[in-house]
Symmetry: C2
Subunit: 328 residues, 2 copies
């Protein structure tokens, strides 16, 4: 992998955000030429502190990806595009339907149209999520589950998936779609609780606050640390077998929501728990139990995530102990 | 049904087009209050002649449905919305990606947002097509087939389907999605061959021209006459059992493409056939053999289409013999 990325021209959309910046750190370490585009929109997770230490080793464009005039001159030289830029809150998507459509679907189409015209060789690695599936019948998430999204966020991520697959089929633009479960880890925003719950709870615990659990907290989730996500994205970017494929990327580990919260409290050594009923707006989009099946991932890249939840929460806590001031 | 529609306020988007205008004729005959909105965009099928005979019995708004300021004042009083307005050429969708996104997905979201804010009672009857499925493995089209659209047209129709199902689930806005196969019949534009092939071939035959068949013409299609489509739409609009459902609407009859062409030549009594290889751009989006399974339709509305292809071509030919001048 070291060899693969050396001197490769890599664009990261949303590269100042949580996952984008974590990938940027690894790519810079492997001597890739990293180009970041990020609009630093205040409600999302873009944060200049996320690239502390590699600032001078990346090309940084503070601009909206929908500004194609800015993006255009960079397209021809690209080898790989990690496409993370998004409206990232599925809870919020209904309160900004057209912004979600524009950022989570239309912007992907714009990017593909640029590639179709200027560079059909660059591989696009797309960040998708389990929300494209909606409620799954069995708790095991498979790549060929029916897609019945419960939110505009899920609908538009699905639309982007379809664009990518079609542009691959029609124009040979290589892509891989990674469907993540619940990511957490260093460099995620901790300003509010709308997404990124583990980070938010670590903050709550560090501040000695009470963490509220909706319902009985027994719903099963699959939490995956950013370090594992980055590894999965990089390996899938390199592998030719991923081209044109949708691949699950989760930890493959079942965790009850309340176990995760207890874990946070234990690691931080502060905070407490309170159980409250589900708020109306959340239950509506609650997706039920889910754990990712990783058979396809493993069969393609002979690797799967290994970091335990306790380890991951520890790493995340250690990061925020030092850097909390930059994330709140 | 007569009783049901009397004095109901019915909006038909794209109501000057092929299917919209055929529905308008039936609704006016049943004393519904019909409101038509249509932008008469020259490349599509909108045509004022389509409502010849009922012009004075409808409210006609010549405007783009995306102009929500025009649409808004009408929303509160509506009982039913037939949503036909669309970019209708799946072949062309790739040459106008953002227009297709805007008309075939975003406009549906705008309509739903208006309904959410002003009228969650009006039932939306949505015109969708088999293109949301892409190539199906078996030739039988079922409502729960996987959706792998091969065109932007198919992707955006699918996105609209997802919007409708979500807004029904979340806000109770009733909807029914009708997935049609290959519609034909009176009042379809005959200006070009990009869609509406039976009509186009009738015109070719009437003009004594040579009809070109791509490949061997053995691909199976399911052609449904507009009279049957209208009947299906009206019955599905009335039935409460259709709410929140996707329902196939085809003839259920298998026809080889070349049989259809021979049928046209026989009915018109003019024209001839030539076989040529598939043009590159068409093969790319060729969906393979397809015939609609109508089990769900029949089980819900205890009705299915009955008109034979020969009958349908005859009725269509009779119409254009009288009115060709208005459609070319």
């Amino acid at each position: 992998m070291l060899d693969y990325f050396r001197n490769k021209n890599v664009l990261i959309t949303g590269g100042l955000g949580f996952l984008g910046s974590n990938i940027a750190h690894r790519l810079v370490a492997m001597n890739a030429n990293v180009i970041i585009i990020d609009n630093l929109s205040p409600q999302y997770g873009g944060n200049l502190f996320n690239i502390e230490g590699i600032k001078d080793k990346c090309e940084i464009i503070i601009e909206d990806i929908r500004n194609t005039d800015i993006l255009k001159p960079h397209i021809p030289r690209l080898d790989i595009i990690f496409h993370f830029a998004a409206q990232v809150s599925y809870v919020d998507s209904l309160s900004m339907p057209f912004e979600d459509l524009s950022l989570n679907a239309s912007a992907t189409l714009q990017l593909l149209e640029l590639c179709r015209k200027m560079n059909t060789r660059a591989k696009i690695v797309f960040s998708s999520f389990r929300m494209v599936l909606g409620k799954i019948d069995t708790e095991t998430m498979l790549e060929n589950n029916p897609t019945n999204p419960l939110s505009l966020y899920g609908i538009h991520k699905l639309t982007s998936e379809k664009y990518l697959l079609m542009y691959y089929k029609d124009f040979g633009i290589p892509c891989v779609i990674l469907r993540m479960t619940n990511p957490y880890g260093p460099r995620q925003q901790l300003k509010h609780s709308k997404y990124a719950l583990i980070g938010w709870f670590i903050r709550q615990a560090m501040e000695g606050k009470t963490i509220r659990i909706f319902g009985d907290g027994k719903q099963i989730r699959d939490y995956i640390l950013s370090d594992d996500i980055v590894e999965g994205f990089l390996r899938c970017a390199v592998s030719e077998k991923t081209v044109g494929e949708i691949v699950n990327l989760g930890s493959g580990q079942k965790t009850e929501f309340c176990q995760m919260v207890e874990n946070v409290i234990n690691v931080v050594g502060n905070g407490k728990i309170e159980y409250i009923p589900w708020p109306k707006n959340y239950e509506r989009i609650e997706t039920g139990n889910v754990v990712a099946n990783l058979t396809k991932l493993q069969s393609i890249i002979t690797w799967k995530p290994t970091i335990t939840l306790t380890d991951g929460i520890n790493r995340t806590y250690e990061y925020y102990k030092l850097n909390m001031v930059h994330y709140i």
